[in-house]
């Protein structure tokens, strides 16, 4: 069963294949998550989200999934995502 009480934030790019796989997996698992497609953000808003992402992943790579502000999963890692969220 998916744990719906966890706070799940996905930093992604709208054009990225691995980000798409991550989004599909989260939907499949019926996880509620907040998603930022950073390439679609502009100006200050993009900067703000990038600063936020930097705290979890200094390399600023995508996808980066953050669970409860603590667990950080960089790249598409199906096993890890399932382990943490189901």
């Amino acid at each position: 069963m998916a744990d719906k009480n966890k706070k799940v934030v996905l930093y992604a790019l709208s054009t990225c294949g691995w980000c798409r796989k991550t989004k599909n997996l989260l939907s499949q698992l019926s996880i509620n998550y907040q998603c930022f497609d950073v390439d679609l953000l502009k100006g200050e808003e993009r900067e703000k989200i990038l600063q936020e992402l930097k705290k979890y992943n200094a390399n600023l790579s995508f996808p980066t999934l953050v669970i409860d502000d603590q667990i950080v999963i960089i790249g598409y890692d199906e096993e890890k995502i399932k382990k943490e969220l189901t």
Binding site: L13, V38, N59, S61
Partner: protein
């Protein structure tokens, strides 16, 4: 939205070009076409094929190393079996012997540049290296287009 026929056109074109020069496109056609769609979106946004899985700055100078095929493709295919976004794969992945996976970003990792000191060597011409495929040539300037992988002049570096 990118027209489906344009994606199909680029899919066939890139597949043919890859195979002619010893590279392989990811055999997962749906995934590959989604990446090509990303490339075409970036082409519309920036005027060049910035990697769909990296955040491009929009400044061509800064983004040169991540214009597809990126400077990191060959090393990533060697080390992992696929490039960062998964568009290009190794022969083992192409033939289904190995699976593609999401790999670490090597772009921003600070690494020492390999330097060769050849103090006694006197060359009559500089040697230029294509950062995409490694092609070397000794001439006054790099070629307009790499004869091996068709990368543009701007992707060459002075090697010796």
């Amino acid at each position: 939205m990118i027209d489906k026929s344009l994606i199909d056109y680029w899919y066939e074109k890139l597949k043919k070009e890859a195979e002619e020069s010893g590279y392989f496109l990811n055999p997962d056609e749906e995934f590959t076409k989604s990446l090509i769609e990303g490339l075409l979106i970036n082409q519309e946004r920036f005027g060049y094929f910035a990697c769909p899985c990296r955040l491009a700055s929009g400044n061509k100078e800064e983004d040169l190393d991540i214009i597809c095929p990126c400077d990191y493709r060959d090393q990533d295919i060697n080390d992992y079996g696929n490039c960062y976004c998964g568009l290009y794969v190794s022969y083992d992945v192409y033939t289904g012997k190995k699976q593609i996976k999401s790999i670490p970003e090597r772009r921003n990792l600070k690494k020492k540049k390999r330097e060769i000191t050849i103090s006694t060597l006197k060359l009559s011409l500089p040697v230029w290296r294509c950062k995409i495929c490694g092609y070397l040539c000794a001439r006054e300037e790099p070629p307009e287009i790499c004869p091996i992988c068709k990368a543009k002049k701007e992707r060459f570096e002075r090697f010796i």
